[in-house]
């Protein structure tokens, strides 16, 4: 186990100050499920300080505003899965978070941690992207709110070192997420494909969110998980589906476009021999379910 100093700041301000002060030598720890594993395997290169943010009150809480819901980054997956607000407003997020790890992991691991770690197999991310989640970031110098997609792209560009290494925190802390209210009658589904029925890393996952007005799709989000280096919406596919009705041909074409877009993004991986047909099949199945759900 790596050696480190464990700092316990008492406020959000103090947290970001420590992050500024120690830069790449420190890492914030919420639930700790990713960090502790990395420590055990000596993968936290150059980290000498851990900053405890698990119970910081400013990172916790779920509250409604006029346009949407605020979820503190420190909320655990269990809390999210049990939250009456999230269950009624964003069942897609509940579906995703309730399948992460085991109950013990869900009781500890946080939404913020899942996003900040940004593993390609992270289950919450496809759901959050479909829900147009915004990430609020704070540092000593600035406070900004950007789309989750931008956050993930920025992270990727900054680079995270060799695979498996968790590099030091940059000075921005993920404070929480803002999810704008969905339109009424929005349909959404999260599918997880794994090798066993519980406590399993996703082999691949899929989140689709759809709204139709008089049968015509006027809003759609489609995100495959555990397939792309940076999980993202398949925007070209979404554009294709917008303005159309869910006929068999459209559903078929949508699934094909999706796999094409994935291959274009990443090239052909060996795992794709399995994942591509499964992705296509799942997209078709979900869209058919949506169509029948009328």
């Amino acid at each position: 186990m790596q050696q480190f100093e464990f700092l316990v700041p008492r406020s959000l301000t103090e947290i970001v100050e420590l992050m500024e002060q120690y830069g790449n030598n420190c890492k914030v720890v919420a639930g700790g499920t990713d960090i502790v594993t990395a420590l055990r395997e000596n993968r936290l290169i150059g980290i000498s300080k851990l900053v405890d943010i698990r119970r910081c009150p400013e990172l916790r809480g779920i509250s409604r505003s006029e346009d949407g819901l605020w979820i503190g980054a420190g909320m655990t997956h269990s809390e999210i899965a049990c939250s009456p607000d999230i269950k009624s407003l964003f069942p897609l997020l509940v579906e995703a978070c309730s399948q992460i790890g085991s109950k013990q992991i869900r009781n500890l691991a946080t939404l913020g941690g899942n996003v900040a770690n940004a593993s390609p197999a992270a289950d919450s991310i496809p759901a959050l992207l479909c829900l147009d989640a915004q990430v609020r970031l704070q540092s000593t110098r600035s406070k900004r709110q950007i789309s989750l997609q931008s956050y993930l792209s920025e992270k990727k560009q900054r680079g995270s070192g060799t695979i498996g290494e968790l590099s030091g925190t940059t000075e921005e802390l993920v404070e929480g997420f803002f999810l704008p209210f969905s339109l009424p009658n929005t349909q959404a589904k999260f599918v997880k494909v794994a090798r066993r029925q519980a406590m399993a890393i996703s082999r691949l996952s899929l989140a689709i969110l759809l709204h139709r007005e008089n049968q015509v799709v006027d809003r759609v989000r489609l995100v495959p998980g555990a397939m792309l280096p940076v999980t993202q919406r398949l925007v070209d596919v979404e554009n294709y589906l917008s303005g159309k009705e869910l006929t068999s041909e459209v559903i078929q074409r949508t699934s094909q476009l999706a796999s094409q877009q994935v291959i274009m993004e990443t090239g052909r991986r060996s795992s794709f021999e399995y994942k591509i047909p499964v992705l296509e099949g799942l997209i078709q199945q979900v869209l058919q379910e949506f169509r029948e759900g009328d």
Partner: protein, 160 residues
């Protein structure tokens, strides 16, 4: 090696002592407090043998840095019951042959207890979900699920 003070309530008793910063909660329980009922099976939060209840929720104690649990309330198997007075779920495990090698048992019991505290009349699905993070290689889980179901109809559990 630097030390810091940690204050945790374990099985109702306040523990206040200096520990090395890198210790996990499981290390404090097993090696500082000699509460060896909690076991380490994998070290990465995948087997659940280290399950304890922290602030009312089950967690893998191998994944919690001890200092992160500062001020918290921890329940381990040692606090569940004694030879003289067993918790209903312990009695149920004994009566339903839910114990073979016994290594996963403490973690299982804590997951069961946490479930019954929150949900005194769980469905079979809910029981399965509650213990899906506790691996067992001996029993095939059936008698464990039956034991928890039986314990859930016991009066003590219903009173919460």
């Amino acid at each position: 090696m630097a030390k810091k003070r940690v204050s945790i309530t374990v099985n109702g008793q306040l523990i206040d002592q200096e520990i090395e910063e890198s210790l996990r909660l499981i290390d404090v329980l097993r090696n500082e407090l000699f509460l060896t009922g909690t076991k380490e099976g994998c070290g990465i939060g995948e087997c659940g043998a280290c399950t304890v209840i922290l602030d009312g929720k089950t967690v893998n104690s191998c994944m919690v840095l001890a200092l992160s649990a500062n001020g918290g309330v921890v329940e381990t198997v040692e606090g569940l019951g004694t030879h003289k007075k067993l918790h209903p779920v312990q009695e149920a495990f004994l009566d339903n042959h839910a114990v073979q090698c016994g290594f996963c048992t403490p973690g299982m019991l804590m997951s069961a207890k946490a479930l019954l505290d929150e949900n005194p009349q769980p469905s079979e699905e809910e029981i399965k979900e509650a213990i899906s993070g506790n691996l067992c290689r001996c029993t095939g889980y059936v008698q464990i699920l039956e034991a928890i179901k039986k314990a859930s109809t016991h009066a003590d559990c219903q009173n919460g």
